[in-house]
Amino acid sequence: MHEVGITQSIVEIAERTARSGGAKRVLSVTVEIGALSGVIPEAVEFCFEACSKGTFLENARLIIERVPGMGRCPNCAGETEIDAYSCECPACGAFGLETLQGKELRVKEMEID
């Protein structure tokens, strides 16, 4: 359950940025979570209320943008959506797809007051 620590980081980053920007509170925060990041979006949602209590983010809306995993086949160079590193290429059956996208774990933006 490393999502608690991840959610604390969301709050920490947003609060620090809000403070330095002279905001009073954060209305919403947008986070990108990739399908291959090892983080479960639902678990982050679950942790957010507890982690944001008593901070600039209390009652803020958490917006999660899910980034699908994309891989490139080392054999036929075909690109395909992947949800795990063990996926095989649907076109030629090769393994070891290079990850192009899906590891994102990033606070993207926020709305402040």
Binding site: M1, H2, G5, I6, S9, I10, E12, I13, A14, T17, A18, S20, G21, A23, L27, V31, L36, S37, G38, V39, P74, A84, Y85, S86, E88, F95, G96, L105, R106, V107, K108, E109, M110, E111, I112, D113
Partner: protein
Amino acid sequence: MCIDCGCPSPGHDHHHHKAHDHDHGHDSRTVRIEEDLLAKNDRLARANRELFRDKGLFVLNLVSSPGSGKTSILERTLADLGAQTGFAVLEGDQQTANDAERIAATGVPVHQINTGAGCHLDAHMVGHGVERFDLDAVDILMIENVGNLVCPASFDLGEDHKVAVLSVTEGEDKPLKYPQMFQAADILLINKIDLLPYLRFDVEKCKQFARRVNPAIRIFELSCHSGVGMDAWYGWLAEGVAKKRKQ
């Protein structure tokens, strides 16, 4: 208080980080941030890595499920190589100092980190953990992570290699079930191979599954109980130390 990591422990040295520039769009209420959630851990991991490089330390992060034999592999390795190589060990567990006591019995400096509810070690814990050691006397730092094939995969500690340990009493399909860990690790130790005659564990299949997830993974088959296969592992350690010293 440490001004770099914000924790109350004084007197440790982090290499310095650049301030981030944020676009604060003053006409709009929307603020772009674009900051990685693991940025703080990664920053501290970079500081650890720089420290390890300055000291010429070869650093391994041992990861596995509980009971695969990480501590036993360490005990045997320290007993066999401790006379000619300087070791230090960081032990990670949720509770107890049991593993640290086992390591301490070999005479090697060890520090136990208890993570409490935490499921992995992070770069911050490691940065403070190594303050306990005289790093000038160390060639190899072994970090035994919390037994967990999921969360430790996501956290860089500043190590040279993540070494995954998989014992033959587990399923050979573990690499497929926990692909992220076997992707993050570049070394795989298949342990307890002395038990193979009593089990239905297919080593070839296991290796095949590991390479599906990570075609470049290097695999050693060994038993820290019988000692079979340990020499190849020791050879690899010696190469690593030599390379690190040259840098």
